[in-house]
């Protein structure tokens, strides 16, 4: 055994003992949470098996969690519970006396059609159900987007460029409205593909790029803030919930 191997074994021994003490003092789940957090953090140094273990555990657990929630929260009460309520009686007694709804056969059939995707021969059947989903979603979204992101946004952008309030002329609001208006117009010019960006139109497009870059900068800054918040949250868990070092 080399010295390096010996040092590694000693290190692991110490870590195992520390975690064992933690389990005794703080309980298994808090300790396991801390272990997983540290395992993920270890990636900052380099890729390693602990990181891989934590990552795979996370992927597997979250997939299973969504599936369970979907089954017990939606399939059971909203599909089986309405198709044949006595069936869910033992799990959700509140629903067992509800009237049966034969229309729920339609989503059931569509659902089964979607699952046909798993079969190599009958896979094409799933396309019908998928077409239904895509068609309905596209129809719903067309109207919603036109309303919320198009028409409503026009009226939100077309603000007075000279604002007066009870105190007289409002410089702040005026500048704010002008910036919004110019920003939107230049952004739209940039994304206008039917005309080459030359002359005044080109100048508008260049201003549009500047507006976009400022937006991306702000977005980048916000992302940094979000990531640091998550880091602080994890640190709070390690220092407070696990080690009890805060307050």
């Amino acid at each position: 055994m080399t010295r390096r191997q010996l040092a590694t074994y000693i290190f692991f021994g110490v870590v195992v003992i520390l975690f064992a003490i933690s389990v005794a003092l703080k309980g298994f789940f808090v300790t396991f949470g801390a272990f997983l957090t540290l395992a993920i953090f270890s990636f900052l140094y380099d890729d390693n098996p602990y990181y891989k273990f934590a990552e795979h555990l996370f992927v597997g657990v979250s997939a299973a969690y969504w599936m369970c929630m979907g089954f017990w929260g939606t399939m059971v009460p909203n599909l089986f519970g309405r198709l044949y309520p006595p069936m869910v009686g033992p799990v959700i007694p509140a629903l067992k006396d509800n009237p049966s709804d034969p229309f729920m056969l339609i989503p059931l059939i569509l659902g089964i059609m979607l699952l046909m995707r798993l079969s190599s021969k009958a896979g094409w059947i799933s396309r019908w159900a998928l077409a239904f989903v895509v068609g309905t979603t596209a129809g719903l979204n067309l109207v919603r987007y036109l309303r919320s992101d198009f028409i409503q946004q026009i009226s939100s952008t077309a603000m007075p460029l000279y604002v007066t309030n009870s105190a007289g002329f409002s410089l702040g609001e005026t500048i704010s409205n002008i910036v919004i208006f110019i920003g939107v117009m230049c952004g739209l010019i940039y994304f206008f593909f039917s005309k080459e960006h030359k002359g005044a139109f080109g100048a508008g497009a260049r201003a549009g790029v500047i507006v976009l870059m400022i937006t991306f900068g702000a977005s980048f800054g916000y992302t940094v803030m979000a990531r640091i918040s998550l880091l602080v949250g994890r640190m709070q868990y390690l220092l407070d919930s696990w080690l009890g070092m805060i307050g």
Partner: protein, 407 residues
């Protein structure tokens, strides 16, 4: 008779004689009685109308009434009662503040709801003005007032116009493109760089890496990326450079294989197509990143393309590509990922530019037509905004209200 009169007189005066005593014994009770005698109920409200709420299914009525303003302070609130007939049971529907002579009675459309208010029915109302000391006065019964359901929501007219216009534009331009009409799309910087980047890879004798993102084959960004991949693969075949396409999704991989194979065929070099150039890596997001980054570090491609749907892996990929010194061209419709591509790549197709690039390169009538329709929608939007702003500046606020979708 005289005795009777005297007896009556004594009876009449007895309370007066004993009044101080009574006052001592039941002062509070007397005060209450006196107060009640002095307080007068507020005047009656007069129901003027109950109008059907426009643009609904017929389950709402707006009740209005009149009340003398000088008595506002003597009223705490108005209570609104409703019945199905003038002599039926009046049920409390709600309250209105003492200075507001209007109440919107909202019912439910479901029959089983306790708040059910059937469409096309008659209702009778009564307003109770509740005074300051609990005394109140009831109005005369008003009615019958009817609810009607409307077939057409007039507040949604702007939306209808927008939908019709957009559909007309799309159909017209798609048909025009199919009919062979030349539709102009301006050249995009990112796309012009494609040929240059492929040429650079050829000169350096290094491969080209094409990443389709982590979207499914149904994702619009992935579909747009497929078109660009076709163009890139054709150029690669012409220049005899090698291409690496690591895939995240099995279906995306099989589509990509078909595209690259056809591109080599189109370029007249089907023999040079390598089946293994388009391959599946893994379906786990960060494992996929690790895999692609590994390829980058080992094979050192001269040019990297990241076109399609991207999430948190965008920066991880672009940063590694930047570190190996590759020319990088990226494009996605995911706004939150664009900043990362912008800082780490040489060219970035921002949002809609990805679709435009796909239409520009592929010349597919459906894509071209939709893009043109969108341009027209944007044009109308710009003109509308300028006109409304001008109107508002001239002190005419009405156009701003016209386009608002009133719901």
């Amino acid at each position: 008779m005289k005795h009777k009169l005297r007896f009556a007189a004594v009876l009449l005066f007895l309370p007066l004689i004993f009044s101080p005593l009574l006052a001592q014994e039941g002062e509070e009770m007397q005060d209450g009685l006196l107060a009640e005698m002095q307080i007068e109920p507020p005047p009656q409200a007069v129901i003027t109308v109950a109008e059907d709420m426009p643009n609904d299914g017929g389950h709402k009525l707006t009740v209005r009434w009149e009340f003398p303003k000088e008595f506002t302070s003597s009223v705490v609130r108005f209570e609104v009662y409703r019945a199905y007939s003038p002599d039926g049971e009046f049920v409390l529907r709600g309250e209105s503040p003492n200075d507001f002579y209007e109440y919107l009675d909202i019912g439910d459309r479901e029959e089983e709801s306790p708040n059910y208010m059937p469409n096309d029915s008659s209702y009778y109302y009564k307003i109770v003005a509740v005074g300051t000391e609990g005394v109140s006065s009831e109005s005369e019964v008003g009615g019958p007032y009817k609810t009607y359901g409307q077939w057409f929501h007039t507040g949604k007219v702007p939306l209808l116009i927008a939908v019709i216009l957009f559909c007309i534009f799309t159909i017209y331009f798609v048909l025009s493109a199919k009919g062979g009409k030349e539709l102009y799309i301006r050249p995009l910087a990112g796309i012009e760089a494609v040929d240059e980047a492929i040429g650079r890879a050829t000169e350096m004798g290094k491969p080209i890496l094409y990443v389709l993102g982590i979207g499914t084959a149904a994702e619009i960004a992935t579909i747009a990326s497929f078109t660009i991949l076709g163009r890139v693969a054709k150029k690669v075949a012409e220049y005899q450079t090698s291409l690496i396409v690591p895939c995240y999704e099995p279906i995306v991989m099989s589509v990509a294989q078909d595209i690259v194979r056809s591109a080599y065929l189109e370029a007249g070099r089907p023999d040079q197509y390598d089946e293994d150039s388009v391959f599946f890596v893994t379906n786990a997001q960060f494992a996929y990143v690790a895999g692609v980054n590994g390829i980058m570090v080992r094979d050192l491609p001269a040019t990297n393309f990241y076109l399609g749907y991207f999430a948190a892996e965008s920066l991880l990929l672009a940063e590694t590509g930047n570190a190996i010194g590759a020319i990088q061209i990226a494009g996605t419709d995911q706004v939150s990922q664009l900043p990362f591509f912008v800082v780490a790549c040489d060219y970035t197709l921002i949002g809609e530019e990805l679709y435009a690039a796909s239409a520009y390169l592929g010349r597919d009538p459906l894509l071209l037509g939709s893009l043109k329709a969108e341009d027209w929608a944007k044009g109308i939007l710009m003109v509308l905004m300028v006109l409304i702003i001008l109107a508002v500046l001239l002190g005419w606020d009405a156009p701003r209200e016209w386009i608002r979708v009133n719901l």
